[in-house]
Amino acid sequence: MVVTQLSTRPRQGEDNSTPTSGEARIRIRDVTLSYGSLQIIGGISLDIAPGETISVIGPSGCGKTTLLRMLAGLARPTSGSVELDGSVLGGPNRSIAIVFQDYGKALLPWRTAAGNVSLALEARGCPGAERPAIIRELLEKIGLGRHADKYPAEMSGGMQQRLQIARCLAQEPKVLLMDEPFGALDAMTRQALQDEVLGLVATTGATMVFVTHDLEEAIYLGDRIICLQPNPGRVGRVVDVRLARPRDQLLTREDHEFLRLRRELYDLIKDDHQ
């Protein structure tokens, strides 16, 4: 799963707080969101370039999931707007896939792994004759090749989460939103999935927004890291990650830059929690 495709990466190093590029895949403009009188998101602006991977970190309850739901079109901003390729997002859109945090609820328990992936193909009108081959390829890619006929209840948490990712890929999305997708996995599975996802994102050129609690995961995956601050949720810091791609579980994590970033983020988060 080592795929070299640096060309799809955006250039790094410019002033990233006020991006000027006119070709953002996603543009978040002064977005706020309130439930009643309670403001959850308090003015977030951000441009995300095509093919870029953004990691989002922040303390529990700061609005990470809420932000992701707005990007998916599942929640409507109270003010401001989210744009996809220059047009305002009015609701859910087939080219934006989201991997939900609660994978158990997002799968159809009465369909097998293959059937769950098939749902995305049926939705976009893929002809029946073409589906089996696509399904097999996707399941193979995500390491579920031999479990195509299993029902979700017969799969482990990690397998279910992989299945959800496979279904999102079947959507052929331009944007992949991930909400702490590897939260409940052991370290080894987690690292394997991180590499799988990075490889898939690189081959498809998809743009990814990845929410995580894990600082190292945020650094390992991201081109930029957005640190959200709570009450109401807003962007505290944006940190550039200047680490070579493709990344490597051992080499990247031993890199001086990786260790420096980890220190920097740790200090930042510590301040937020005081």
């Binding site: 087939r94 159809l108 009465w110 369909r111 995305a120 939705a123």
Partner: protein
């Protein structure tokens, strides 16, 4: 697992044998006059004679056909209407109170109305069966749709499923456990109403023949009819349980 179900079968047969034995003891001791209450042997003899002689067999088929027709009608209408109402939150809020008002009405209350409109006809009986058996299916479908995991609605929106696809591929399968249970209940109600309808409207069938047997003090025939009714109910419910297990295989692995 096979072993376990075999044991359950044996236990069931044992209980049945015990029941027949008790029946025999009560009738042999003449606790109740044999004119009203025949023993198992006389009932069995009447059963064999009725089924081989022809009259009871054709009546049984008549009743089974009536029950199945009414049940199918109720199932299609119930699930279809339930889906229409259940898929929209507004329709649910709008119609649910009316349904709650109508539902507790006993189906027999419908009979005079049905007679007034349709007279003493086969269609009248059919309408009564369908109306009475409709409720479990209708309400189970509505509730099944309402109880669908909200996350799945979001999944369908993100995938861009059409409304028809949401009903057909998400809501119906997710409501299927409730719907299947209600189909079983509906079948029982259909059988009861088929018999009652036949008695009231004097239509060909087991209901009428049981009533006739009772009026002319042919108690073995009466009891033979009751035994057949019990058997119809048992077979129907068994067949549906079997279908249920096949269709809900995905659920069995959950446990």
């Amino acid at each position: 697992m096979k072993h376990f179900s075999l044991r359950k079968l044996l236990l069931g047969c044992g209980a049945l044998a015990l029941f027949i034995l008790a029946w025999k003891l009560v009738t042999d001791a003449k606790l109740v006059s044999p004119i009203f209450f025949p023993g198992p042997e006389r009932t069995y003899a009447a059963l064999v004679k009725g089924l081989s002689g022809g009259a009871m067999l054709s009546q049984t088929l008549e009743t089974v056909q009536r029950m199945l027709l009414g049940w199918l009608l109720a199932s299609f209408v119930g699930v279809f209407l339930g889906a229409l109402i259940g898929v929209s939150r507004r329709a649910r809020a709008f119609i649910a109170p009316t349904l709650e008002l109508l539902r507790p009405l006993p189906a027999s209350a419908m009979i005079p109305i049905a007679i007034a409109f349709l007279g003493f006809s086969d269609n009248m009986v059919l309408v009564v069966i369908a109306f009475g058996a409709l409720w479990p299916m209708l309400l189970a479908t509505i509730h099944g749709f309402a109880a669908m995991e909200p996350r799945l609605y979001e999944v369908s929106a993100v995938l861009g499923l059409s409304r028809a696809q949401v009903i057909w591929k998400l809501a119906l399968p997710s409501a299927m456990p409730m719907i299947l249970a209600s189909l079983r209940l509906g079948l029982t109600i259909s059988l009861i109403l088929a018999v009652v309808g036949e008695m009231l409207a004097s239509r060909q069938g087991l209901g009428q023949s049981i009533l006739a047997a009772s009026r002319s003090f042919r108690s073995p025939d009466l009891f033979a009819g009751i035994v057949i009714l019990g058997a119809i109910g048992l077979v129907g419910s068994r067949l549906l349980s079997f279908a249920e297990r096949r269709l809900l295989r995905w659920q069995a692995v959950n446990r």
